[in-house]
């Protein structure tokens, strides 16, 4: 999977040299396709915001697991953090915010939702992003050229950029603790959560469990699993007492996949190199017409 910049440039050069003719012949084989697996066995996390106590231990553990500087863990409790609405950043890949402050407030953890049809994977022009078999949406920092298209594409505005770094700034986001889960460990946030507001499991099991919780406690839960269908489904699923979109926990999103429309237009347009050929033909035609007219003028 890992590929350094030189390899990448070589690939581009090779495609540039021999590409056009070949691609017209065998478009399917060389069509830009990053790893984008939608496994039935993919994992997910069920976030039960009615259980979350807002201790922010997940933020602390996440920083530890990603070699980000941690503060003293007892400073994470009862400070004024909840006064402002925070977004995931390079220093905090996950953040806990307080919502519905007026009545029955909840605390909810935000991070990458690990979409089933990730817009970032689709938008990434160098194929650095990928959806892995276990559900994680990760990216290859060596491939990344820092174009920040992923940030624009993400419906949840999750990827963030190290703007404060002058040299070698990187794209950052939650990677579902890909390195930890590979070793059979739990994601750091799931492991530390004192009340198991975060339940790690197979996505389909989590949906069944979430439905059961709603059925058994209809007065406690808003009858909707956020992430089950939103933007085509996400690995992280949320349960809460109210509709999350009413207090901007999440934006109002349809059930269509985020890359669905854009991909069909783009892939349709560029299939078999029709638009470039058409543009060149058009330009050639104009040239041919105007050339003829110019010669007529000179003859006069």
């Amino acid at each position: 999977m890992s590929q350094n910049r030189r390899d990448f440039l070589k690939t581009i050069a090779a495609i540039g040299a021999s590409g056009t003719a070949l691609s017209a012949v065998t478009p399917k084989k060389l069509k830009a396709g990053p790893t984008n697996i939608l496994s039935d066995e993919r994992m997910g996390v069920l976030v039960d915001t009615t259980v979350c106590i807002g201790c922010r231990k997940c933020e602390w553990a996440c920083q530890g697991a990603h070699d980000i500087e941690q503060k003293d863990f007892d400073t994470y409790q009862h400070d004024d953090t909840f006064n402002k609405d925070r977004r995931p950043s390079a220093q905090n890949l996950t953040v806990v915010n307080k919502y519905f402050e007026d009545d029955n407030p909840i605390t909810a953890k935000l991070q990458c939702m690990h979409c089933d049809h990730p817009a970032c994977v689709s938008a990434c022009i160098v194929g650095a992003f990928s959806k892995q078999e276990n559900g994680s949406v990760i990216w290859d920092t060596d491939k990344c050229i820092g174009c920040r298209y992923c940030m624009v594409a993400c419906p949840f505005q999750v990827p963030s950029f190290e703007y404060d770094k002058a040299l070698n700034p990187k794209i950052t986001k939650c990677d579902f603790c890909f390195d930890r889960t590979k070793e059979g460990k739990l994601p750091a946030c799931v492991e530390i959560c004192p009340v198991e507001a975060l339940t790690y499991g197979k996505r389909e099991d989590l949906i069944l469990e979430a439905r059961k919780r709603i059925k058994n406690n209809p007065e406690k839960y808003h009858n909707h699993i956020f992430g089950e269908h939103e933007v085509g489904g996400t690995a992280w699923l949320y349960l809460g007492p109210k509709d999350f979109t009413t207090d901007n926990v999440f934006p109002k999103l349809g059930n269509n996949t985020a890359p669905g429309v854009s991909e069909s237009i783009q892939h349709g347009l560029f299939a078999y190199f029709v638009p470039p050929v058409a543009v060149y033909a058009l330009l050639g035609g104009i040239m041919w017409l105007s050339k003829d007219r110019d010669s007529k003028k000179e003859n006069k």
């Binding site: 807002g54 007892d74 009862h78 989590l206």
Partner: protein, 372 residues
Amino acid sequence: MRLFKLAVLISFIFSFQLFAQIENLKTHSQMNLDCKKCHICDTPTKANPCLVLCPRNKIESVRHSPEEGPDNIVLNEIKSEKDLYQPVHFTHKLHAEMSLMAGGCSTCHHFNPPGKIVKCITCHNTERSRADISVPDLKAAYHRQCMGCHKTWEEKTECESCHALNTTKKSKLVSKPSMENVHPKITIPTKIVYETNTEEGKLVTYFHNDHTSLFGLECTDCHTQESCANCHNQKPNFVSSKANEDEHARCSSCHDTENNCSKCHKNELTKPFDHFAKTGFALTGFHATNDCSNCHKVKNKFTGLKKDCIYCHKNDDGLFDHQITGVKLDETHSEFECTDCHAKNNYLAKPSCADCHDDYSFPNEVPGEKVK
């Protein structure tokens, strides 16, 4: 004819058996159930039904006294990669005692099978990474139980109110986890005046101490569905939204709150309960410390008793049981009429021995044997 009778008899027996079978069908053994759903072993017996302890769908009512459980428990079953905190020393007995005012053992020991109370670890897995995610793991189970109440009054997450830090670093937080098994002394109110929104009889004067010390009520007789936050909430913001009958629920278990409103609802403050003013029988001496129920034996019925001592203090012969006063009359004295010694029916004044004897005086010399 004989044959017919036999046929009737046989059909009767069969029909009976048929009914018996229908009856049997109602029991679970005849129903289409998976035995393993309730029994752990292959051959359950009556002596050892080997019932599954959990999960149970219904909360079973379990009732045990706090003394039956452990005093303090160190909750050290969970080990993680890196323990940030030391195990909690859980004051079980203290919590059990307080729970009597809020739903009893099943407040925490939910889904408990009848009989013995099972530990949390019986149903809740110590491993977070597990197959069955429908039951929270042990760490979550503990924290959810604790935070369910503790957060309602603290309104913040303060890990160190229960956990000591696992580092040498000193905690910045002031509050220290208490390992003592006693609840801080509760200030019991004496008089509470309720201002109600009724037009006539706005004030209800409630003498709490009368109910506890005089009427001998235990805390749990009235406080059955309390929330911890009722006392522990640091900034109480109660808005009474209870319906009329809810407001009266505590009183109506003894008082008739449907009628007789004016008995409690007055326009001015009332005085504490005075037995003499109400009944003409002053509660003096031993009677002052006596529980109401010692004399008023029928529950909630306080009428019909007579003032005569003998009405309550009767011995087997139907006579006054003099022993109750601390003096068991000897054979000679027990023959007398009461008024022979207690002049003018005044039983509070010391009897006069000098009426009969020359050189005797009560209580230096007693007409019998001192008991007690």
